[in-house]
Symmetry: C2
């Protein structure tokens, strides 16, 4: 450790851990001397490889040597070929390699906002949902007015958030895939952080009828009359009439939200979405394993954890299927992969669109290597259920929430699934943030962690240099999550007000 | 006129013009007495129809009687069947029915901001473009900071606008269809209202390389070094470092923009995008013909006009092909229709997804009737060129800019094509607005025009009641467009600050 990281004893490549990379001639032990300079996060051959030899990282095949590679050489790009993806028809299902759930832990709590349906919010937010983009200008207008004029009167309410989107009209509302954006909008409105207080602005002539989006009596856990408002309603005689109508409605909802108080809740009501973006070669060594350790702790405390990103786990699906808690779950996993293979093919794309140029510069050779690092953030728990895109979670424990890898689409679908806390691991760095839930940003390397000290919430870099263990940092992250969920600690994105758009998944090729 | 509108002498249905509809028993002349109450905008049979008989409006077949329909009866929904769309293989090409361009007019001017490339802005805006959604939170942050801290120092600059979007990463960047969103972003940055002053914020690891988006030396008409800024650039040691970097760059651009002044320009440099949304049965009688008359005036003054919305002209394509200025243009029109037919089919959709429920309530029976009213806004000029989605206009005169009908996608693609002024006709009412160009909102009926008096800029309703002619109101609209282009008159959307998002067309079924 210190200079080079080898993840399993089987591996025949090591990862350069030193922040400045390692110069030619460096002796990294075991008779390996670098024959060229290698940047941080990149791979060095630990033994001589002939063309066709397996290249092993995480104890798994990430490719085959495409040319002779000498011990000490930089293993990059074209020097290795990508293996074929696991054949979905040949996977064995439900062959558990885990010994069942790890021992449960108890006594961990946080301060949250309890809802009638049993869910718990980590923020107390008034949501303005919309049926169509046509009303976006209006909803933004009233959001600002509410923030300025009403929120100061309701100190227990954290924020007002508009669920703006590009769906609702000018879309093929009867196409088979329409179910995904529609149920996503329905379920986002049920996110625990909205506490059932959702105000819906519709236009009136849109294809996505607001009453289809929020069927009366089902829109939230209690649906007071007047939740739904149409701008084209003939009772509005002017723009300012509409504004007053919305403000009145908002005021009623805010009054109810303001009566809520944080209460001590067990960690078992946490619903934590795990995601990574802008990954580098360290993500799979530091950030993701730490997140995975924390994920295991949340599951062991009785809570719920999501991991996602179909295209980035596709090449590690053989490992995930073995962790399915039942044959049904294994089949559901395989089905989501198959749906996505087909979806990409229809759009003339395939998995090679991943990894990004930035991933490559960070040392990730291909999507196989990326996938193996990516699944580390799911920890080691059994996968208890598979949640389709836009669906809501049904079971506590570790869930696979099937989403694209796009950060914003994944985050949006995890919100729809019911997440109340988000962990986002990055190696290259992104100022990602969501307004609905706190996003705890984890850096995979200390170079980023220190350069972006005001944008990163948790630096997992010390693991790469042997200063801390995954277990130590996993517990630290777990405790930080409880503090953030309680509102005791504000994440960088909220402190700076950096929030990205919600982005619906309306199928059409997104990888 | 007054009670009922018959558009051509051939028509065997009339449109109820009275704002409150007409009661049963109303004698509408020529021996037609209503056998039931009929709402405003809906159709009444002017003669007895047997099953299979053609139903004629605009002198064209909008369907066939599905059952016996008696004179005086309401012609609605299921009573008529939809004709098949014109067979693209059987269309005659370039058979002009027009006598060539109408006589030119001259002497009409407005006050605009001249750019080096010959284009003219109707606003003077600093654009912040972005390569990827990851930077949206940051770009919104600096946009507000620029508006608050810098704009007050540069009184000749109208605004700062972020070109935010959901593209750039997590997308199939090498898919065949990727060319559309990419060239859209490239060309929006060249919109005349940005005056060549575009600041680009990239992340650093995204798939859509900012340098691909804005190739050095081509990003704008003059590309000073430092236009492009990456948040992951190692020279930024913190969030506030990034913010200062962007503010410095913005300041340089603002200084140049602030030196610009409005100058008298001929109407020939206007580039006017025509669009309708939330249409009703009146749109094709009042708003769209008035917009079409104004479109003709702009073309006659040497200017440029766009009309768009493939799915809404598809069923009137036989009329458009006859207006093509050459066989090549006719073939290009047909090709755009064919591409869209195929695109819809691949997504499991077809043209029946149009009209919307609101259109139907407004009296539009099907997409054929909607299309016939929709093309009225193109006026009568020859169609000189066809501009693909995301492409930039090449020729003055009337252009078909091939876009989906979705209001926001259409508006975004018209901005990319180079529009500096937008006309938006609505019957049901929508608070649509864009921040980049003024949007003149035209109501098709006075019921909406008076109810939404603070949201509508021009009421074409008086035509339905014989109070004004299309020609009179067409000239009025033309003069109003010159006043708006000059900045002398502020449109409702700008007065209230109601602006919708730009929405990229990343193919995946949008109708």
């Amino acid at each position: 450790m210190g200079n080079l990281i080898k993840i399993t004893p089987r591996d025949n490549v090591g990862i350069v851990a030193h922040l400045d990379g390692l110069p030619m001639g460096t002796d990294v032990g075991n008779g390996v001397v670098l024959s060229e300079a290698i940047p941080m996060g990149h791979k060095v051959a630990l033994s001589d490889l002939s063309p066709g030899d397996e290249v092993l990282r995480y104890g798994e095949v990430i490719g085959h040597a495409a040319q002779p590679i000498r011990k000490g050489e930089w293993v990059i790009g074209d020097k290795i070929t990508m293996p074929r993806p696991p054949d979905l028809n040949l996977l064995s299902k439900g062959e558990e390699i885990i010994d069942g759930p790890a021992p449960s832990i108890s006594g961990y709590t946080f301060e949250g906002f309890r809802n009638r349906d049993g869910s718990v919010g980590t923020k107390n937010i008034l949501a303005i949902s919309t049926s169509v983009q046509c009303v976006a200008g209006m909803s933004r207008y009233v959001e600002e007015k509410i923030r300025r004029e009403l929120l100061p009167r309701y100190p227990n309410v954290d924020d007002v958030v508009t669920i703006s989107h590009h769906y609702g009209c000018g879309v093929a509302i009867d196409a088979p895939a329409a179910i995904i954006p529609i149920r996503t909008l329905q379920n986002i409105a049920r996110n625990p952080n909205f506490g059932g207080e959702v105000l819906v602005i519709g236009l009136g002539c849109e294809k996505l009828r607001p009453e289809r989006l929020f069927p009366p009596g089902q829109s939230t856990d209690h649906s007071p009359a007047g939740d739904l408002l149409y701008l084209q309603d003939e009772r509005f005689r002017s723009f300012s009439d509409m504004v007053s109508g919305i403000m009145d409605l908002a005021d009623r909802h805010l009054r109810r939200l303001n009566a809520k108080r944080r209460e001590t809740c067990p960690a078992s009501v946490l619903v934590v979405g795990m995601q990574c973006g802008g990954s580098d070669s360290f993500s799979g060594i530091t950030g993701n394993p730490v997140a995975g350790f924390a994920a295991d702790l949340i599951v062991r405390a009785g809570g719920t954890v999501f991991f996602s990103e179909v295209t980035e786990v596709r090449d590690a699906i053989h490992l995930l299927v073995r962790r399915a808690s039942s044959v049904q779950v294994a089949e559901a996993l395989i089905q989501e992969m198959a749906w996505y293979d087909d979806y990409l093919a229809r759009g003339g794309a395939d998995r090679s669109a991943n990894p990004t140029p930035g991933n490559r510069r960070g040392g990730l050779s291909n999507v196989v290597e990326k996938a193996l690092g990516s699944v580390a953030k799911s920890g080691t728990s059994p996968i208890i259920d598979v949640v389709g895109p836009g669906e809501r979670v049904r079971k506590k424990g570790l869930n696979f929430v099937a989403t694209p890898a796009s950060d914003f689409v994944c985050g949006t679908l995890q919100l729809a699934a019911g997440m109340n806390l988000h962990v986002f691991i990055t190696g290259r760095g992104t100022p990602y943030g969501l307004s609905v839930v706190p996003v705890v940003k984890v850096s995979s390397n200390s170079k980023l962690g220190s350069r972006w000290s005001d944008l990163i919430d948790f630096d997992a870099g010390p693991i790469a240099h042997g200063q801390k263990t995954i277990e130590e940092m996993g517990w630290e992250l777990f405790h930080q999550l409880l503090a953030v969920a309680s509102g005791d600690q504000k994440v960088a994105a909220d402190r700076l007000g950096l929030h990205n758009d919600l982005v619906l998944f309306n199928p059409g090729p997104i990888t």
